[in-house]
């Protein structure tokens, strides 16, 4: 903090400091414009190509063979199934783990360790999760399946839910807990009847953010759910899903497939961004 006050009377120095200031702040503004520039470019491209590829066929027909026309029905359905599997299995575990951290072991070393590990899982490469589920489920069961994809998504959702439930529960005033316990309620009643309802908004936001995240994940599905050109409603089979379809179609040499990939990209991006914007809005409204 060596702000040179006495010498600041020298006019040359003041001018130099002002120029440095101007350069610095201009750089900051340009950096922001630079960031926004890519956002506009990337979203603009997705909207433009996506909307020009949009048609009702997308929602009524299966993914086509090369050269044929078709839609994305099986992929949309597969994605929905796997996201539901991920949410249904991941959410209870995540909320319970967050509850344990916030209510039962708050302030102990083990809670610290689990929070630390959870935060690492939160940013761990998703392809690694895919490999793990491959080893765990696909190799032991002998084939790719929608269940394996759902489990991979659950493992990506889990740390998000753990963290948000933990953080929201810790924001609830202690007096509320003391009042419940003073009435003679056992601890589990306190958690289920008082704390969870009080933390509802925060936990729901966490789940929504996690859903937004898993809806766009591709890498963990590549070697778990794989892909399926045909309709299947049975998650024990390999299942088509939007991200992997986009991946395969975008890298193919066929024009039709490219346009289907763009349509899928548009649907996915709109879904992901709307969900996360809604979640953030809910969080802001609460604060």
């Amino acid at each position: 903090m060596s702000v040179a006050v006495p010498a600041a009377h020298a006019p040359g120095l003041i001018r130099r400091r002002k120029i440095v200031n101007l350069i610095g702040l201009t750089f900051a503004a340009c950096a922001t414009l630079f960031g926004l520039f890519w956002l506009v470019w990337i979203l603009g491209t997705t909207l433009y190509f996506g909307f020009s590829a949009l048609s009702p066929k997308l929602f009524t027909q299966m993914t086509p063979a090369p050269g044929a026309s078709g839609g994305l029905l099986n992929a949309l359905f597969g994605s929905a199934v796997m996201i539901v599997i991920g949410v249904v299995t991941g959410t209870p575990v995540g909320v319970m783990a967050g509850t344990w951290l916030a209510e039962y072991r708050h302030g102990t070393p083990i809670a610290g360790i689990i929070r630390f590990v959870n935060d690492i899982l939160l940013s761990a490469p998703s392809i690694v999760i895919g490999l793990f589920v491959y080893e765990l489920v696909v190799r032991t069961s002998g084939h790719f399946s929608g269940y394996a994809g759902g489990i991979a998504l659950a493992l990506i959702l889990l740390p998000v839910v753990v963290r948000t439930s933990d953080e929201t529960l810790r924001l609830i005033p202690v007096s509320l807990r003391e009042a419940t316990l003073a009435l003679g309620a056992p601890r589990w009643r306190m958690v289920t009847a008082i704390l969870w309802p009080a933390a509802r908004t925060g936990i729901t936001t966490g789940i929504l953010l996690a859903v937004a995240r898993i809806s766009g994940e591709t890498a963990p599905l590549l070697f778990t759910a794989l892909n399926n050109q045909y309709w299947t409603a049975n998650p024990a089979n390999p299942m088509a899903n939007i991200p992997v379809v986009i991946f395969q179609y975008a890298l193919s040499p066929y024009e039709d497939w490219h346009s289907l990939a763009w349509a899928g990209a548009l649907i996915m991006t709109l879904l992901v961004l709307t969900t996360s914007v809604l979640a953030r809005a809910a969080l802001k409204g609460k604060r």
Partner: protein, 302 residues
């Protein structure tokens, strides 16, 4: 009962991480045992002759992440400064939300946009220009030589950089806001300019956490798969030029996993995943520790 259920759920988090590491070590063991330490350094990757060396993929991961950091760190710092010091109060939430939107875009969209939109721009304009202006220079020249394919390390690095800008800038903004207002106002009162406040008050106060945020971004960049798989070109030949197709750990896994036709091939890919896991774990743990330090100091003083 309830307690036990909650406890086992929490332990599951720990177990998942442990099992993920172990299962990948287990899966990668045949390859690691076969090739030993040479696996990390060898640049020979040939499924036909069953020779697998991770050198090219590791080099690609490191170089593309380095390019990404070179781009993302200064820009993220600028954005954080803009959001905390420069922008009028009314503009801040709008810009912050827009930048966070960038973080919400699925990574496969970056990859697709990169392949269909950005690669042509790179090969038509940017790369020929780089080759003609920098390609003849000594030392850096070889980095920018070669045909302008558009696909390659530089393109992947730039896209990765754009991807991690929102992560780094939001951490930086958050820690900049932790600086006690008294410190900031005191230096303004002494006549410091805004930039001087940033350089001499805000940055020294938040230095560790800023580095933590940078590491968080690095962890993301190292492990990112879809954004780079599209534009790297999946080449297994080592090339010094940033304009030539390359590979990365995650791209190699994504491209080749379902095509692996021998157990050793599969094992080599899983071993790659294990290496990636270990490296990102270390980087992310370091990031977390650095961020915790500021939080702890903050807790003590307030």
């Amino acid at each position: 009962m309830f307690h036990a259920a909650a406890a086992s759920a929490a332990w599951l988090v720990l177990i998942v991480l442990g099992m993920a590491a172990l299962s990948m070590l287990w899966g990668g063991l045949p390859a690691l045992r076969r090739f030993g330490f040479g696996f990390i350094f060898s640049t020979d990757w040939n499924p036909v002759t069953r020779q697998f060396g991770a050198g090219v993929a590791i080099y690609g991961t490191l170089v593309s992440s380095a390019i990404a950091m070179l781009l993302a760190v200064p820009v993220s710092f600028g954005i954080a400064v803009f959001l905390t010091e420069v922008a009028p109060a009314r503009v801040r939430p709008v810009v912050a939300a827009a930048i966070e939107l960038l973080a919400g875009v699925p990574s496969i969209i970056y990859g697709m946009w990169g392949l269909f939109v950005f690669v042509p721009v790179m090969s038509d304009t940017i790369e020929p220009w780089l080759t003609s202006s920098l390609g003849a220079l000594p030392l850096v020249g070889p980095l920018f030589s070669g045909p302008p394919l558009g696909i390659g390390m530089l393109t992947a690095g730039i896209i990765l950089g754009i991807m991690i800008i929102p992560f780094i800038s939001s951490v930086m903004r958050d820690v900049f806001m932790l600086v006690p207002p008294q410190l900031r106002e005191a230096s303004f009162a002494l006549g410091a300019t805004r930039w001087e406040v940033v350089r001499k008050v805000v940055l020294p106060y938040t230095r560790t956490a800023v580095v933590g945020g940078v590491f968080l971004g690095l962890g993301r960049a190292l492990g990112e798969t879809m954004a780079v798989t599209f534009v790297l070109g999946n080449a297994h030949d080592f090339s010094l030029s940033l304009l030539m197709p390359g590979n990365s750990i995650s791209a190699a896994i994504a491209n080749e996993f379902t095509e692996a036709d021998s157990d050793l091939y599969l094992s080599a890919l899983i071993a790659l995943g294990f290496l990636l896991f270990v490296v990102t774990f270390i980087v992310l743990a370091a990031a977390k520790l650095m961020l915790l330090r500021l939080a702890r100091r903050d807790g003590r003083t307030s």
